[in-house]
């Protein structure tokens, strides 16, 4: 397994370089260093000298990818791409274009993201599995039929609708929880998390429940379930003791892959609820054309996704002894 992990880690390097290159290209196709300087320096009374100076201080005065004026390796290393990307591979995120330490910002802002993402994931998992089991239990009845219809409708509704509707209904009309905001002061934070977590859960019920229902129904068609029924086990026992246990393999592996990406936060939820997480951090950086933060966040996202896939592979071997990594 160790050889497998090392090999996968080595595979990750060209992937990350590729992701960096694509991010770099996309970013600089849309924005030039001059644009970035103007956005940072403001609109009023900005002189060309100030723009040149801003670029020089942040290393944006160099060629993008290839420096013809340099000699030897300098042609590659004395470029914006190299200088802005090389350090990422040792997880040195450097400073934002405004001069703040990105690593520190990430450390600070990942907690609010996790505070929403982890409960939403766990509660969502519980709710989705419960509903999926319920529908599987009543399969081919009107409950199953109308349940699936409801799930398809829920899947089709935009997250934005859940957010605005939730804020209006629960925060405004019912006055049960604050409409938006965040508090990092321990238990008091919980009342700010109720609504975003609830909306996160409800927003995921449609697709989640349908996915798990499919898994359960697939399991229920297998021979061992028929054997269990033939033994005279009640449907509930069949469902909980056998079907659920065996369906946990795809469920767990599906969950493991998203765990690392929980750090990245939710863009919409964080924006509407004023949560200072990494999702809003990324959006702000795009809006402010802060390339240093954008590349750091894209790099981090890619790294976490690769990590998630690796963990998924490892978790397969843990939950299913038949699988061996080679």
């Amino acid at each position: 397994m160790i050889a497998y992990i090392i090999r996968r880690t080595l595979y990750a390097i060209p992937i990350l370089i590729g992701v960096n290159l694509i991010t770099f290209t996309l970013f600089f196709v849309v924005n030039s260093p001059d644009d970035m300087a103007r956005l940072h320096l403001g609109v009023k009374r900005v002189t060309p000298e100030a723009i040149d100076k801003w670029k020089q201080e942040r290393g944006y005065d160099k060629p993008l990818l290839y420096n013809e004026g340099a000699a030897g390796a300098g042609r590659i290393t004395d470029t914006i791409f190299y200088e802005k990307s090389a350090r990422l591979f040792v997880l040195d995120f450097g400073q934002s274009d405004e001069g703040r330490a990105i690593g520190e910002d990430i450390r600070e802002r990942m907690w609010p993201s996790l505070a929403i993402a982890i409960p939403a994931l766990l509660i969502g998992l519980l709710v989705n599995i419960t509903f999926a089991l319920l529908l599987a239990f009543f399969r081919a009845t009107y409950i199953d039929l109308w349940g699936v219809v409801a799930l398809v409708i829920m899947m089709s509704v935009s997250t934005l609708f859940y957010i605005i509707g939730g804020q209006y209904l629960i925060g405004k009309l019912m006055s049960l929880v604050p409409i938006s905001g965040y508090d990092d002061g321990g238990l008091n934070a919980i009342r700010f998390l109720i609504l975003p977590v609830l909306i996160g859960v409800i927003g995921g019920v449609g697709s989640g429940t349908r996915w798990y229902r499919t898994i359960f129904l697939e399991e229920m068609g297998k021979d061992y379930v028929r054997t269990a029924r033939a033994k005279g086990l009640s449907e509930l026992k069949v469902l909980f003791r056998h079907v659920l246990k065996n369906a946990m393999i795809p469920i767990l592996t599906g969950v493991v892959v998203v765990i690392p990406t929980l750090f990245m936060g939710s863009l919409l939820l964080e924006s509407f609820f004023g949560v200072p997480g990494l999702g809003s951090y990324t959006i702000d950086a795009i809006r402010n054309q802060d390339f240093a933060v954008v590349r750091a966040m894209v790099f981090l996202g890619s790294l976490l996704y690769i990590l998630g896939l690796l963990l998924t592979d490892i978790s397969y071997t843990l939950v299913d002894p038949r699988i061996r990594l080679s």
Partner: protein
């Protein structure tokens, strides 16, 4: 089974008990603020965008000034109530009157001729005894040495914000602090946006910037690029045009005569910076921890920033060292409501603490305002109809729902102009030819800005007659202030000339029916715009419709703002939309937007239309140096006549600001130029508390209804399941009986 039922009963009992307990507390459940703050004298506001700079030498936008203006104090400020806007002394003893000198440095009389004046000298005397807010940069140890001035990165391991420094101190404001700040305008690392304009006026500032650049490059050799840069001690380098006379007195020497300089003295650019604070922030590791002047400005103002977390909230508290100022007791010529004078003479500030919460989206912001959790709010287009209605005579009123809540509305025409500019170096619409002039006038008539304001601004705007908005010297109401090239005076108000008249002008210009008379080709006008908002498509369609009234085709070249600026810089646009928000209430701050030597393409200035008229330029040079009075007004009128005739802009409109506030928010008055307005405001926290409780009673019955509905919807399923189980059991028993029978 009995045991399990017992557990469920307990859980249900616990849940109900919690709900009942919560219901017994009359504190609203949706109150986003800590219970400890209930009933306190705290103002709650929101901000939607993180301030980019709070360093007074860099900060230059209104959202930054709403924080910074409360913290730092330039020598002058604007009188809170007096209109027209009037400068008053803030930390200065009085508004300085300049002395004029000739080339030989001989003092000239106050009414000296403009051409004789080589220099103006402003001597500013500040009040003694003004103290800075508590700050660690001022903290001293037992030996009297500054405690935090020689820190290493290792000393900062546990310091992530200003409050992590256990000691703080203060000291008296002195003239040297103001001088130090003026020197910072030329600091090579700070990129002050007004360095360029100030270097034209402050004697020696250009050379000073060069000197500092040299010194700075020696401090940070090329091989150390990217590493920490040591403090650049500006006290070691004198600036020729700025002198410390004594502890409370300093002089600024200006080239020629520049009366608008006084307005700059009311902006945070000229607020004091203590050298020890600059040195404190320049220590290694500080910037990486966001401990910088841009994050924690230091001042002598009524408030100080106690929490700066712009991703969540920013909190300002009363500066305990603030000297106290009295609420204005009398005003000059302007009229104010008597309720604004109730606090006259009382010491300010009235509010203890201000909490600004980040609200990026308008919907939650509006909802929380209606719940009483924000004390004031703007009106977004989504909520406009909910908040405001127009009566038959076109007057704006609050809706019944708003009036019932006691909400009040403040409106004010802003000191801004939103316009469409013609690129005057464009071969079709630009230039000084009569043909181009008539074309520009025809287009100016055709674009019905009255309709534009009704449709796209919800009536929140005033059609512009020139580039000067109300409140600026030179603006005139009535027929005298009307643009006669675009409007006729009918029934006591300006009426836009007809489209037929515009068509006639177009024909005279050589474009009958919108076609070039020589080539027969239809005339296509290209509009460059940075429009990406949801309403922009409708707006652009509307503009196309306006041009179509003259049989002209409008081709819209929509782009992002950066590309737009690029086009403007290179002069590639033909027609563009832009706006200007005044720095100070003087016509010079608008007229310079059409001053030839300020043209964008030739001189990278703010004259985006690249307009150049020799007579206008001469008059501008004359007008900007004149003192206010009838002579100046006459010059301004002539300038307005020139630009109205030339029509380098389609004058557009002046936006109107609508602000809503609750009944408990007092001393609310709109002051477009003052930055330190927070100290005048008042809150009745008792009324607010009462209203919040009244408006936010929790409604819990829907929760029970939903649970009941879910349970009821499962009952038929459960019954069906029981039947199915019974059937299975009976089937199994029957099968078993049959098999037994067969065997027997």
């Amino acid at each position: 089974m009995a045991h399990r039922l017992g557990f469920h009963s307990k859980a249900l009992f616990f849940t109900i008990s919690m709900l009942v307990l919560a219901a017994c507390s009359d504190r609203p459940w949706n109150n986003p603020y800590p219970p400890a703050d209930d009933g306190k004298n705290i103002l709650y506001q929101a901000f939607s965008e993180r301030p980019k700079h709070l360093d007074p030498v860099r900060s230059y936008s209104s959202n930054e000034y709403s924080f910074l203006g409360q913290i730092v104090e330039p020598p002058l400020h604007y009188h809170y109530l007096d209109r027209p806007y009037r400068l008053a002394a803030l930390t200065a003893k009085q508004v300085p009157v300049p002395d004029y000198y000739d080339q030989q440095d001989q003092l000239l009389p106050a009414d000296a001729r403009l051409e004789d004046i080589a220099y103006s000298v402003y001597e500013i005397v500040i009040q003694p005894g003004i103290q800075y807010q508590p700050h660690p940069a001022f903290a001293r140890d037992e030996q009297g040495e500054l405690r935090y001035q020689n820190l290493t990165e290792a000393d900062l391991t546990d310091k992530w914000k200003l409050s992590d420094f256990s000691h703080s101190g203060s000291r008296e404001l002195v003239a040297a602090d103001y001088v130090y700040q003026i020197k910072r305008l030329a600091h090579p690392r700070l990129d002050s946006p007004i360095y360029s304009i100030m270097s034209e006026y402050i004697v020696g500032l250009t050379d000073y910037a060069k000197e500092l650049k040299q010194v700075d490059s020696k401090l940070t050799p090329e091989q150390d690029e990217g590493r920490h840069k040591p403090w650049l001690d500006l006290t070691k380098y004198p600036l020729q045009g700025v002198q410390i006379v004594d502890r409370y007195r300093y002089r600024i020497r200006i080239k020629g005569k520049y009366p608008q300089f006084l307005y700059w003295l009311a902006m945070p650019f000229f607020a004091p910076t203590p050298p020890e604070v600059d040195r404190f922030y320049a220590q290694p590791g500080m910037k990486q921890r966001n401990i910088s002047m841009d994050w924690y400005p230091v001042g002598t103002g009524a408030y100080m920033l106690s929490e700066n977390n712009p991703n969540l909230r920013m909190v300002m508290v009363k500066n305990p060292n603030f000297r106290g100022m009295a609420y204005p007791a009398r005003i000059g010529s302007g009229k104010v409501s008597p309720e604004l004078l109730v606090d006259a003479g009382k010491p300010m500030p009235f509010i203890d603490k201000v909490v600004y919460s980040l609200e990026k989206e308008t919907i939650p912001y509006w909802s929380k305002f209606l719940q009483g959790y924000y004390d004031l709010s703007g009106i977004s287009s989504d909520s406009f109809d909910q908040a405001v209605q127009f009566n038959v005579s076109g007057e704006v009123n609050l809706t019944d729902a708003m009036q019932k809540k006691g909400i009040r509305l403040l409106t004010e025409v802003q000191s801004s102009t939103m316009y469409m500019g013609f690129n005057m170096i464009d071969p079709v619409v630009g230039g000084d030819s009569e043909r181009a002039r008539l074309l520009r006038r025809a287009i100016s008539i055709a674009i019905d800005y009255e309709e534009f304001i009704r449709i796209f601004r919800n009536g929140r705007g005033l059609v512009a007659q020139s580039l000067l908005p109300p409140g600026i010297i030179g603006f005139q109401e009535g027929e005298q202030g009307m643009n006669p090239y675009i409007f006729d005076w009918v029934n006591g108000k300006p009426r836009r000339k007809s489209v037929d008249q515009a068509r006639q002008l177009l024909a005279q210009a050589g474009y009958p029916q919108g076609r070039d008379a020589k080539t027969g080709q239809p005339l296509v006008i290209y509009l460059d715009i940075a429009a990406g908002g949801p309403d922009d498509k409708a707006m652009l369609d509307w503009f196309r419709k306006q041009f179509a009234r003259l049989d002209l085709q409008l081709s819209v070249r929509n782009t992002d703002y950066n590309r737009f600026q690029e086009k403007m810089r290179k002069g590639n646009a033909q027609l563009f939309m832009w706006g200007w928000n005044a720095d100070y209430p003087d016509p010079e701050n608008f007229m310079f937007l059409l001053y030839g030597p300020n043209s964008r393409v030739k001189h990278a200035g703010e004259n985006a239309a690249n307009y150049s008229n020799p007579e206008f330029d001469v008059l501008f040079d004359q007008m900007k140096n004149m003192d206010n009075g009838p002579e100046r007004i006459a010059v301004i009128n002539r300038m307005l006549e020139i630009i109205r005739a030339d029509a380098p802009w389609i004058w557009g409109y002046h936006p109107k600001q609508y602000v809503l506030h609750h009944s408990w928010y007092g001393n609310a008055v709109s002051n477009l130029f003052a930055h330190n307005t927070l100290m005048y405001k008042r809150i009745d926290a008792r009324v607010r508390e009462q209203k919040r409780r009244q408006w936010n009673q929790p409604v819990i019955w829907p929760i029970f209804a939903v649970v009941l509905l879910l349970v009821l919807s499962l009952v038929p399923g459960f019954v069906a399941y029981r039947r199915k189980e019974h059937r299975s059991q009976r089937h199994a028993l029957n099968s078993s009986d049959n098999q037994t029978g067969k065997h027997s």
